[in-house]
Subunit: 441 residues, 2 copies
């Protein structure tokens, strides 16, 4: 079995799940946002299942939502990614640790240092999810009244990336001699002062930390806009994306992989890992029932707004327990409306259930038995829809246990997933090479 | 024995010691700046010895020094404090974890979040060493050509403290209901939006993390200037300082404690813990010989500049192996010159040895047997020179083992130090009360 044909699996984590009703699901831990012990148990299970990475979602603000939604949301509090992943680094051995850090609201010297330090502490398991932070509420927590404009955010992100990677390359790998006899700790000839001056950033350097064990922590990118795709093609080694189905996944995969040649990169130097919400049951019907039960825990008052947005039409006057009434098509909302209608028909959902789906989690989902989900994942890999997935667990711990203890063994049986880690670093797991130092041989 | 009369002990750490020659000392770990395993072993030993806290020193730049000194310096690389202390939180149970964070080169939302997260991860063991960062090389790593002026740094620090503590108070302690049945996760009436607009900072809030277990992580301050002392009296719960002897320590102690009443604070609400370099031997002579051996590992070329600075006189032309020649007194350097002359006479040091002392570690030192060092520490406590010490280990691991396994048992035998932790949090260890939430009862 060619290792390149195997899936890569990340766990896209919030402590209680991304699904807003998850903290109410039977067996869930409503205190997981406060409990490192819970997070440690999740990381250990994911490592036992040989996941590539634990990927920590993040926001730089309490999300702006109506009070009825906000007071029902477990997302108002969570751990900060660097502190959480560093703590997890100390109690795990092999799993990768991907932290989100914003190029809009942080400083490259801080970001370079924290990732380098995490990479040293974890012996080469760090990854940086580069985000430009599109949430306008975040801007107001960092001294700005209005959000930074999209184009400017991406220009800064590109330069920020150059500065951070340049700082990581401050020392050659062989700079540290540490010869106690002669007293020479390192060779200053093997130290580079970056002295960067650009349109957005001015950073002298050098970094006051040795080059990370991985050379650079793995670069992860999540943007799907045009500048986001281009930034990914130029800089990313993992793309985290959200195509709604295999057809959209194949188009995105072909587009991003197609951009690599133009910037002189090999197709394998970038892995595309869509988010996938995975619900497992003993039967397909049981899995669907579990999902409906989970969705039913989303409060209708906070969910109906999400449906209205998806439809491009105010749904608040509809009968919640009836099927979706006919809705006039407008130019604004063609795609969204078509998706809702398709979902309503396929799953025969009421207005309430549709609202709860959009208020809970409405992205790509694999809902079925270990067999049907393994079939779907295999099809994505085979048909070049992705190189694996960032799994979103519907509820924790049960949803994670279902994947780690039931789905993963089936994927391993089929030769679609590793049975053990072959290497030590996150780059090893992902089959990514160690970047050359741009300043030193 | 009244608990209030016991010493508090912090460990002021850099991975290889603050002393620049320490990485060359017999048995030292020259790789400690790269090895989490070493740091973990230090933290576990300090916790077994019941230390109050592990205190991580920090710099935001490679220090500017002549190449001959730089290439011999182990300080060019180190761990970043948040990542290191979070990792240590996961492998320890009780010891406090104090991180340095700069108010000049960071954002209050980030700082508030990281400390709150560390406090949650460690179950109430975080402390914030507030620094304004006086190193001009740091400014150049954060987009500035010149360093921020002293007064402006302190004005920003004061406002920064108000914002960070205000963000920590975003949620009342009882805000999180987490009632799965009703679906109410928290009570928005128990959430405060800070909406701070001041001369230096504009931060909306709320913080997206629950109030820290300690209410606020313990506030540590290190400045000894006039604005530094005033900031400490207004905000600090621990003062980290460097008086050169007991007489200077008593004056500083009386000054800072004396300022507390004017701001409505009790004397016990602030602990003064000077840095103390502790070298233990079986005899006083052995301890002194160890220190001379350690100093001898500092390279003369890089040490002589430090002696010139201390003297206020160029010492580079002196015979290194002769006693200090007579030096004319100038107005600029009265105190420094007097100190060097006193040291030269007391310990009968050559120019080389004096240079190596100033190039290594020239602050307050207790050098002797466990008995003589315990006597000195007891005198400081008795005579109100301090409430304990931040111990600087001359070399690691031996210097730490000497304190943890030999000095601490003697202090415990005398009733001067705890034999076990009485509480769980760093506030418990230090005898500090939990701050009230300024927005909620």
């Amino acid at each position: 079995m060619n290792a390149a044909r195997q899936l890569h699996l990340g766990a896209f984590m919030r402590p209680v799940s991304l699904h807003t009703g998850a903290w109410r699901y039977p067996g869930a831990y409503p205190d997981a946002n406060f409990s490192f012990a819970r997070l440690k148990s999740f990381a250990l299970k994911l490592e036992a299942a040989k996941f590539d990475a634990f990927f920590m979602a993040d926001h730089l603000a309490v999300l702006n939502m109506p009070i009825e939604a906000l007071r029902r949301s477990h997302t108002v509090t969570s751990f900060e990614p660097f502190t959480l992943l560093s703590a997890l680094a100390a109690v795990t051995e092999r799993i990768g640790l991907v932290a989100t850090a914003s190029t809009t609201f942080d400083q490259p010297y801080h970001v370079a240092r924290r990732f380098a330090s995490l990479d040293h502490i974890s012996a080469g398991r760090a990854g940086w999810n580069i985000v430009t932070t599109s949430n306008p509420d975040a801007a107001r927590n960092f001294g700005l009244d209005e959000h930074v404009e999209h184009g400017e955010r991406y220009a800064r992100a590109r330069e920020f990336f150059d500065v951070v990677t340049g700082l990581w390359d401050s020392f050659a790998d062989d700079a540290f001699i540490r010869d106690a006899e002669s007293g020479i700790f390192f060779d200053p000839e093997r130290l580079h002062v970056l002295d960067h001056t650009g349109p957005e950033l001015k950073v002298r350097g050098p970094l006051n930390i040795a080059r990370p064990p991985q050379g650079w922590p793995v670069i992860v990118q999540a943007g799907q806009s045009e500048p986001g795709r281009q930034l990914a093609a130029e800089t990313a080694e993992v793309v985290f994306c959200s195509p709604r189905d295999l057809s959209a996944g194949k188009a995105l995969y072909a587009d991003i992989k197609g951009r690599l040649a133009a910037v002189g990169r090999a197709p394998d130097s970038l892995k595309i890992l869509p988010a996938a919400f995975v619900v497992i049951g003993d039967t397909v019907e049981e899995a669907r029932a579990r999902r409906l039960r989970l969705d039913s825990l989303v409060h209708y008052d906070s969910a109906i707004a999400s449906l209205s947005i998806a439809l491009g039409h105010d749904a608040s006057g509809f009968d919640p327990d009836a099927p979706l009434p006919p809705i006039p098509e407008t130019n604004d909302s063609k795609t969204g409306r078509a998706q809702v209608l398709k979902l309503a028909e396929e799953e025969r959902l009421t207005v309430r259930q549709l609202a709860q789906r959009y208020g809970g989690y409405a992205g790509l989902a694999f809902v079925g038995t270990v067999d049907t989900v393994a079939d779907e994942m295999a099809a994505w890999l085979e048909e070049k829809g992705s190189d694996g997935f960032n799994v979103v667990f519907p509820y924790l711990p049960q949803g994670l246990d279902d994947v780690a203890e039931r789905l993963v063994p089936e994927l391993q049986r089929r030769g679609l997933f590793r049975t053990d880690y072959a290497g030590q670093t996150l780059r090893d797991h992902l089959g990514l090479s160690r970047p050359k130092n741009r300043f030193f041989e």
